[in-house]
Amino acid sequence: MEKTLTTRENLLKGIFRENPTLVLLLGCCPTLGVTSSASNAIGMGLATLFVLVMSNLAISLVKNVIPDKVRIPSFIVIIAAFVTVVQLLMEAYTPALFAQLGLFIPLIVVNCIVLGRAEAFASRYSAGASVIDGLGMGLGFTLALLLLGSVREVLGSLSWFGMKLSDSDGMLVFVLAPGAFITLGFIIAIMNGLKKQKS
């Protein structure tokens, strides 16, 4: 059935039906860790998107020459290489953002979304389809992060992308660790509710 996936469906599944963060609950660490502001969320989302697209492409190109037994370690090495590329590029061209995201950039390596897509998609499908899949999943991840980052920044600091919406202070708890868990919990609860209503 999946063989007949059109490009459009392939792209959109990552954003909605199989959204890696909100539906499949993958890659939770950066989802919670860097979303104290909307701009951090976008930065992290795009960095992950780049790694997803590139590693999906590379893996689907070499999938036939890698023996099955060393498949996973090889995939991880390829992913780690692209993560390092992102790390170096960000340090050179967006140093402020790089300092903000810190540890979570190298940790893209162990983001389950990336290895998950390599294993579930790129190792089976053509290079073109894999790129589209990576793009869709990356966008889905970025949008979910943006949503969470926006809610937390607006409620917690009364600002959005650093622009102050009001002079007062906001509910600090949303910027802090507990707020991350609670906000994501409610977003998923709302999505569950909407899904129920539909069906």
Partner: protein
């Protein structure tokens, strides 16, 4: 089988070597720009190149701090000191502290910190920073109020505030010390 893994690793490593070489210069440049911006933010009116004339100040516990002297027409007008505290809540805090020749604090910028967003991160807020501006640590006790000083700590982030204050005071002391040694 193992060969395949070795080949993948080797190819990745070589490719990364190229990317590293390629980004080496931009990264160095980006670091320099961050540093220059911080110096410009804490010191005004100099016409020399503080980065070229950089020297090191030693602190009481044996560390050394980078110090960027500002001069106008050859006469010193102040310094920008890259101060550090490892007593923060998580990771090191790096500041750039601008002092005039009398040791009065002209401005401070936070270069890097990993404090908790929403709490310790408020060390970059004007409300906190302004308490330090135009004070001379020789006259004003820049410790937090809890420790007997004059600084209102950030609420919920005494540790970060303490670390910040400590870095500023250390920068001042090593500057004074260095000056005394010269004369």
């Amino acid at each position: 089988m193992v060969i395949a893994l070795v080949v993948v690793t080797a190819v990745s490593a070589v490719a990364l070597g190229f990317v590293y070489q390629w980004t080496k210069e931009p990264i160095a440049k980006a670091r320099l720009t961050t540093q220059l911006k911080a110096i410009e933010a804490v010191m005004t009116g100099y016409d020399n190149n503080p980065v070229q004339e950089k020297f090191f100040l030693s602190t009481e516990n044996g560390d050394s701090l980078e110090c960027f002297p500002g001069k106008k027409g050859g006469t010193p007008i102040g310094v920008a000191i890259k101060a550090k505290s490892s007593k923060g809540y998580s990771g090191d805090i790096w500041l750039m502290v601008g002092l005039d020749t009398a040791g009065t604090i002209r401005n401070i910028v936070v270069i890097e910190h990993k404090e908790t967003p929403g709490l310790g991160s408020k060390m970059t807020s004007e409300k906190f920073l302004n308490q330090f501006l135009n004070t001379n640590p020789a006259v004003t006790d820049l410790r937090v109020k809890k420790d007997g000083g004059t600084i209102d700590a950030i609420s919920g982030a005494t540790i970060s505030s303490r670390a910040f204050s400590q870095a500023v005071r250390e920068a001042y002391q090593s500057y004074r010390h260095g000056k005394d040694a010269h004369h």
